[in-house]
C-alpha cells in the first residue's frame, strides 16, 4: 500500500469518527449551524480524496450525501431522523469501502446504489416518516451484537491495525502540537523503561554498601531520572476513555430506535485517562453493559409514562480517578433489577441453595447476576444476546485487576460500578516472606499492617466455626495463613509473634498471615508463562533488587482459594455477627475510655486512635503556647484535653501537674498526628451507643452510657483545630 493511500485511510477514519458524533448531535439539535458546516466540509473532503484515488463508488456515495447536506446547510431542508439514518448509513458504507481498500481488495463488492437513491430522494423531498424501515432493511447490514466471550478479549499484540485505532484529536480543532506514533513503538519504549527500572533497583541495592560520595551522588541522579522517565513514558500510553465512549451515542441511538425506546446518553469524565492496554480490555465489557441498559434496563416509553417517569430514558456514564484507580459508573433510570426475581432464578438454576438465599441482603442478591449462565429476562433479544454477558464481563474486568459491582433499586434504575487499576506494568508493592520465600503484594490491595506479639497472639486471634479470625476495631477479619494456602508450611500454634497484612479483594477484607514484612518498592510486573497460567494465586513475577525472582501474589486469587470472598468463611462470620449483635439497629463501636485531670470520664472511637503512649514529664517541651514532644523522629504537637475543655468554660488551668509520666493518646488527624494529653487510660470497650444526650459543653459531642456510667464523647477534631 502506498503512502498516499495509507494517509487517506488514517485521515478518513478520523473524519468518520468526528462525523458520526456530529450527526448524532445534529439529530438532537438540528439547528446547530457550525456542526452542520463541519459535517458538510468533512464529506466534501472525503469526496475529493476518493476522486483523487479513483474510488468511484465512494465518490458517488459521498457526492450524494454532500448534495443532501448542501441543502441542509443552506436551510432549505431540516435535519430529521430519516435524514440522520441515511447519513449514518452513509458512514457505515464508507467504512466498508475503507476496510476493503485496507485489505488491498479495491473498493469491494458492496452495492450502494440503494443508498445513493435514498440520499437523492431525501434531497428532493426532505424525508417523510415511513421510509426509514425500508432503508434499514435494504442497506448496510444492521449492527451485529458483539458476541462477548472470553476469547474475544485477549491482550492486544503490538502494532494492531492502526486504521482502527487512530487517536482522535481531543480538542475540536486539529492541534499542531501532537504527533502520531506507532503503538508497537510505545510498547517497546515501555518495556525498555521496565528493564531500566529493574537495573536501577539493582544499582540502588549495590550502592547501599558503597561510600564513595561522587558515586552515590550519581546513583541518586540516576534514580531521579529513571523515576521521571518512567512517569513520562507511562503518560504516553495513557488515553482518554472518551476514545471508547465516542462510539456509544451511535450504539445507543441505533439500539433505542430498534427497540422502540427513547434513550438519552450523558457522558461525564471523557478525559479520564487509562493505559492503552486497559482501554482495550474494557472496550467490549463497557459496550455490552451499555447495550444491556438500553435493551433490558430502560423501559418502553409507554411503560415509563405509566410509572410517572419521562418517556425518554437516561443512561449516564461517569468516569473519574479515585484512590489509585479509575472508577467507571454506568447508571440508567430504568426498571432496575428485582432482587426477588434474581434470587428465585438463582435457586432455580441451583446456583445457590434456599438457605443461603435467605441470608443474603438485597445487594448480594442483585450481584448474583454475575453468576455464569444467568439471565432473568424472559425474552432473549437479538441485541444483547443471552445472559452470558455479566459473568464474562466480570471475568474480563478482574483479569486486568479490576472489579465490577451492581447496585439497583427496583423501579428506579441500576448502577454498574467498575474499578480499574491505572496501569499494569510498574506497580508499588510490599515485600513479605513466607515459608522461606519472598513474595510481592501489590500496594493497591493493601489496607494496613498489624503485628501481634506475645500474649496478644493467643488473645486476639479467635476461632469461629474452625476459621481463625482477628477482631480489627470491632470487625471480624478472616485470617488466611499464606504458608498454608501455598502449602509451603503449616500454621504453627505456638507463635510468639504474628504479622498480618490486611488486604481487600472484591469489596471484602481479610488478613494474610506471613512470616515477615519488608519494604515497599516499585516493581516491574512480568507475566507468567503459559506453563503457569492455571495458578491463580499469582499475578506475575518480578526481579528484586538482588537479582532473584519473586512471585507477585494475586490477592483476589488467594482470597478465592481460601474461600474468604464468598462461601464458607463469610457465612460463618455473618452467622457469628448475627448471633452476637442485638436486635437493635445500633452497631457496637469500639471505644477508648479515659479520664482527664478534673476527673471527667471521656470516650473517643478507637478507630481514630493511632497509638497510646507514655512520656516522662521532663520530655515535654514548650514552643510558644504549646507543648510538644519528640516522637519517632518527629515533633508531635500536644493538646492538653483538660485545659482545652476548661478554657472554654472559663476556668483557667495552668500547665499539667508535674507527675512522673504523662499519658498521651496519639490521634491520627487528617494532616498530621496530634497527641492528646489525658489523665489516665481506663479501658477499651465495645459498646452500643444508646441514650445519648446532647453536648454539655463545647469540645464535647454528646454523652452516653458506657459500661454503666456516663461518659462524654470528645470532639477531637474540634478541639485540635481550636488549640492550634
Amino acid at each position: 500500500m502506498n503512502e498516499v493511500t495509507r494517509e487517506f485511510l488514517l485521515e478518513t477514519h478520523e473524519n468518520l469518527g468526528q462525523l458520526e458524533g456530529d450527526l448524532i448531535a445534529l439529530e438532537k439539535d438540528p439547528t446547530e449551524k457550525q456542526t452542520l458546516a463541519r459535517v458538510f466540509r468533512n464529506l466534501h473532503t472525503v469526496k475529493g480524496s476518493a476522486g483523487f484515488l479513483g474510488l468511484a463508488k465512494l465518490q458517488a456515495v459521498a457526492h450524494s450525501a454532500e448534495s443532501l447536506l448542501s441543502r441542509l446547510r443552506d436551510g432549505e431542508l431540516t435535519f430529521n431522523p430519516p435524514i440522520a439514518t441515511a447519513l449514518l448509513q452513509t458512514i457505515d458504507s464508507i467504512r466498508q469501502v475503507l476496510a476493503s481498500v485496507e485489505s488491498e481488495a479495491g473498493e469491494g463488492s458492496g452495492n450502494y446504489s440503494n443508498l445513493v437513491r435514498e440520499l437523492d430522494r431525501l434531497r428532493e423531498t426532505g424525508g417523510t416518516a415511513e421510509t426509514p424501515a425500508v432503508v434499514a432493511r435494504t442497506m448496510v447490514a444492521p449492527i451485529e451484537p458483539v458476541p462477548l466471550t472470553s476469547a474475544a478479549i485477549t491482550s492486544p499484540g503490538p502494532g494492531t491495525s492502526f486504521v482502527q485505532e487512530a487517536t482522535e484529536p481531543r480538542a475540536q480543532s486539529v492541534s499542531d502540537s501532537s504527533i502520531r506514533v506507532d503503538v508497537g513503538l510505545l510498547d517497546k519504549l515501555m518495556n525498555l523503561v521496565g528493564e531500566l527500572v529493574l537495573a536501577r533497583n539493582q544499582i540502588m541495592q549495590f550502592s547501599s554498601s558503597q561510600e564513595n560520595a561522587a558515586f552515590l551522588g550519581t546513583v541518586q541522579r540516576l534514580n531521579l531520572l529513571t523515576t521521571e522517565l518512567q512517569a513520562n513514558v507511562m503518560k504516553t500510553r495513557m488515553q482518554p476513555i472518551g476514545n471508547i465512549w465516542s462510539k456509544f451515542p451511535r450504539v445507543v441511538r441505533d439500539l433505542a430506535l430498534a427497540c422502540g425506546k427513547q434513550v438519552r446518553i450523558d457522558m461525564e469524565g471523557q478525559e479520564t485517562e487509562l493505559d492503552k492496554t486497559i482501554i482495550e480490555a474494557i472496550r467490549d465489557p463497557l459496550t455490552h453493559m451499555v447495550r444491556n441498559a438500553v435493551d433490558h434496563g430502560i423501559e418502553s416509553p409507554s411503560t415509563r409514562l405509566e410509572r410517572g417517569k419521562l418517556a425518554e430514558g437516561r443512561l449516564s456514564l461517569h468516569a473519574f480517578h479515585e484512590g489509585g484507580k479509575v472508577i467507571i459508573e454506568i447508571n440508567d433510570d430504568g426498571g432496575g433489577i428485582d432482587p426477588i426475581r434474581v434470587r428465585d432464578k438463582a435457586i432455580k438454576v441451583k446456583a445457590i441453595s434456599p438457605e443461603e438465599a435467605v441470608r443474603m441482603n438485597e445487594r448480594e442478591l442483585v450481584n448474583l447476576v454475575f453468576l455464569p449462565g444467568f439471565s432473568t429476562t424472559e425474552k432473549v433479544t437479538h441485541f444483547s444476546g443471552r445472559g452470558v454477558g455479566m459473568d464474562v464481563v466480570r471475568t474480563n474486568i478482574e483479569r486486568i485487576g479490576g472489579s465490577v459491582e451492581l447496585e439497583s433499586q427496583p423501579g428506579l434504575g441500576t448502577t454498574v460500578k467498575m474499578k480499574i487499576p491505572l496501569t499494569l506494568a510498574i506497580i508499588p508493592a510490599l515485600t513479605v516472606t513466607s515459608g522461606g520465600e519472598r513474595y510481592a503484594i501489590p500496594q493497591v490491595s493493601l489496607l494496613e499492617l498489624v503485628r501481634l506479639e506475645g500474649d496478644q497472639v493467643k488473645q486476639r486471634i479467635e476461632s469461629i466455626h474452625g476459621f481463625p479470625v482477628y477482631r480489627l476495631r470491632g470487625n471480624l477479619l478472616p485470617l488466611v495463613y499464606l504458608n498454608k494456602e501455598l502449602r509451603t508450611g503449616d500454621i504453627r500454634s505456638a507463635e510468639s509473634e504474628i504479622n498480618i497484612v490486611v488486604l481487600h479483594a472484591d469489596d471484602r477484607q481479610f488478613g494474610l498471615v506471613v512470616d515477615a514484612i519488608h519494604d515497599t518498592e516499585e516493581i516491574v510486573v512480568k507475566p507468567l508463562q503459559k506453563q503457569l497460567k492455571g495458578v491463580n494465586v499469582f499475578a506475575g513475577a518480578t526481579i528484586m533488587g538482588d537479582g532473584r525472582v519473586a512471585l507477585i501474589l494475586d490477592v483476589l486469587g488467594i482470597a478465592q482459594r481460601a474461600n474468604v470472598v464468598t462461601g464458607a468463611r463469610v457465612r460463618a462470620l455473618t452467622e457469628q455477627n448475627a448471633q452476637t449483635s442485638d436486635a437493635s439497629s445500633n452497631a457496637k463501636q469500639s471505644l477508648l475510655l479515659f479520664s482527664i485531670r478534673d476527673g471527667g470520664r471521656m470516650a473517643i472511637p478507637l478507630s481514630i486512635v493511632a497509638r497510646l503512649e507514655e512520656f516522662p514529664f521532663g520530655s515535654l517541651e514548650r514552643t510558644g503556647d504549646q507543648f510538644v514532644v519528640q516522637y519517632r523522629g518527629e515533633i508531635l504537637p500536644l493538646v492538653d484535653v483538660a485545659r482545652q475543655l476548661n478554657a472554654e468554660g472559663g476556668r483557667a488551668e495552668g500547665i499539667p501537674l508535674a507527675s512522673d509520666t504523662v499519658q498521651v493518646v496519639v490521634y491520627a488527624g487528617s494532616e498530621r498526628q496530634v497527641g492528646l494529653i489525658v489523665g489516665s487510660i481506663l479501658d477499651i470497650v465495645d459498646e452500643e451507643i444508646i441514650a445519648t444526650s446532647r453536648s454539655s459543653r463545647s469540645g464535647v459531642l454528646h454523652s452516653a452510657i458506657v459500661q454503666g456510667r456516663v461518659a462524654e464523647f470528645l470532639d477531637v477534631e474540634g478541639l485540635v483545630s481550636r488549640a492550634s
Binding site: 528493564e195 515459608g435 520465600e437 502449602r487 506453563q531 503457569l532 492455571g534 494465586v537 525472582v549 512471585l551
Partner: protein
C-alpha cells in the same frame, strides 16, 4: 528438506536424548531458582536470565522418570518457544551431533505414556539409541491441576 540435521544431545539417567539445535538459545549451569508453589510439579521454578524471567521445566519429571539424586546438579538448556524462552533441566549435556535422515526411526514400541507423546523418533547410533524430543510439545503442559502432587 535437508538430509542431515543437527541435534543438541543430553542425558537423563541412562537415556540419551536430542533436540533440534536451532531451537536451543543457550546452555547454562544450574541457576538459583525461585519455586512456584501450587504449580505443576514438572515446573521446578523460575530463573532470572539477564532480566528475563524464564520457567524451568524438569525433563525427568516431564518424562515420568524418577527425580535425579539431590547431589547431582542439573544443567539448563534454554529453548525458544512460541511463548518465549523456557529452560529444560537435564542431567548432563552432550555434543552437538549431525545425524542423517536415513538413520531416523519411529519411536520404539517399548515407549509408553508421556514419553510416547513427546518423542518424535530415534536415531540408531553406533552404540546406543538417540531419542528425539518434540520441543513444543515438551513445554506444553495440560491439565496442570489434575496430576497428583509429588512430594518435594
Amino acid at each position: 528438506m535437508a538430509n542431515e540435521r543437527q541435534l543438541c544431545t543430553f542425558t537423563l539417567g541412562d537415556q540419551y536424548f536430542g533436540l533440534d539445535v536451532l531451537k536451543v538459545q543457550e546452555i547454562i549451569r544450574a541457576q538459583e531458582m525461585t519455586r512456584v508453589p501450587l504449580a505443576h510439579p514438572v515446573v521446578r521454578g523460575l530463573i532470572n536470565l539477564r532480566g528475563q524471567i524464564v520457567t524451568a521445566i524438569d525433563l525427568r519429571r516431564r518424562l515420568d522418570m524418577p527425580d535425579r539424586p539431590s547431589e547431582l546438579l542439573p544443567v539448563n538448556i534454554v529453548v525458544q518457544t512460541d511463548d518465549g524462552a523456557v529452560s529444560l533441566l537435564v542431567d548432563e549435556i552432550g555434543d552437538v551431533l549431525e545425524v542423517s535422515e536415513s538413520a531416523f526411526e519411529r519411536p520404539p514400541e517399548t515407549l509408553r505414556g508421556t514419553a510416547r507423546e513427546l518423542i518424535l523418533g530415534a536415531y540408531k547410533l553406533k552404540d546406543r539409541l538417540l531419542l528425539v524430543l518434540d520441543t513444543e510439545r515438551t513445554v506444553t503442559l495440560t491439565n496442570p491441576n489434575t496430576r497428583l502432587e509429588r512430594s518435594e
